[in-house]
């Protein structure tokens, strides 16, 4: 399922705990180091999920400021690793932002996220991509989270299950239902193969 996020989760978690203890005492250098460790993948994730660099910056900034404010309450040796907890915070914030997206014009709902291909993207390709994203957003809450995380979260299966707070088998069951609903939605929109254009 996707790429592995951290090569050595245990060592990474211990380093995060040390940094959080220092942050709890107001150590800005430790805070900087924590951001250097996690900001890049989180910004990429948020950019991908929200479809906007500005939204991504805002979401991840708020998440880090939450860490800065509440670091003293972080329980070392707690049940969840910091990276898992933080990923969950950013992921949920991004999906919440997407949920509010219908308030914005349709063009903003699924704006292209990678600057490179935008210039070469045809109107039809863009329309097709927006249709897929709209179908993804229309899934029921739990299926939507599972599918977004699976396809765009760049995490392993067990990590995804931990982030969503469920067992691996429950996640797999959700994905099966999510894919089935999504296939129906795509077929309705005339997308049945890679080369299809609306």
């Amino acid at each position: 399922m996707g790429q592995v996020k951290q090569a050595s989760p245990a060592a990474g978690a211990a380093a995060d705990d040390d940094l959080l203890q220092a942050i709890a005492k107001g150590d800005q250098l430790a805070f900087r180091r924590l951001m250097e460790r996690h900001a890049k993948p989180m910004l990429a994730l948020a950019h991908r999920l929200t479809g906007s660099a500005d939204d991504a910056d805002e979401v991840v900034q708020e998440a880090f400021l939450k860490v800065w404010r509440l670091a003293a309450r972080w329980e070392v040796n707690g049940a969840a690793a910091f990276s898992t907890w933080f990923y969950r915070v950013v992921f949920n914030a991004c999906l919440d932002r997407r949920r509010r997206a219908p308030m914005a014009p349709l063009e903003d709902a699924g704006t292209p996220v990678d600057p490179a291909p935008i210039g070469f993207e045809t109107a039809q390709e863009k329309e097709r991509r927006l249709a897929i994203v709209a179908a993804l957003d229309a899934l029921p809450e739990r299926q939507r989270k599972a599918v977004w995380l699976y396809y765009f979260g760049e995490v392993t299966g067990p990590e995804a299950a931990q982030i969503l707070g469920m067992s691996l088998s429950a996640l797999e069951a959700l994905l099966v239902r999510g894919r089935r609903s999504l296939k129906k939605a795509l077929v309705k929109r005339g997308i049945v193969s890679i080369g299809d254009i609306l």
Binding site: A24, K25, G26, Q28, F31, R32, M35, E36, A39, K40, L43, A44, H47, R48, L49, G51, A53, D57, V60, Q61, F64, L65, W68, R69, L70, A71, A72, R73, G110, P112, V113, D114, P117, R129, I132, V133, L136, V147, Y151, F152, R179, L182, K183, L186, I191, V192, S193, I194
Partner: protein
Amino acid sequence: MNQEEFDKIISGAMPPVTITDERLDNFIDTVLDRAATEPRLGSVTQGRTWKVWTPGRWPTLAPALRFAVPLAVAVVLGITLGGQYEDDWPVAQFSTLYLSTTLVPVGS
């Protein structure tokens, strides 16, 4: 469409994003600037002990006492006076016994 094709269709809807070092540096600087002005709850709450009965906390208890005191008085009066109309009321039995032994009826 088969599973592989379906996966490609979905994954293609949101291409991967690359974050440049410059963007990362700007981001970190912005967060640090904001953090410098943020109140930090942790350092304030850590080690704090609650002393409930300090004079400073009476104002917060006052609204509760406005209801609690009249309620307590009403309950006491209800128990005491209510018994006058009920013979099997424990307080009434006590009152009758007490009054009968201490008061001398008028005219006797």
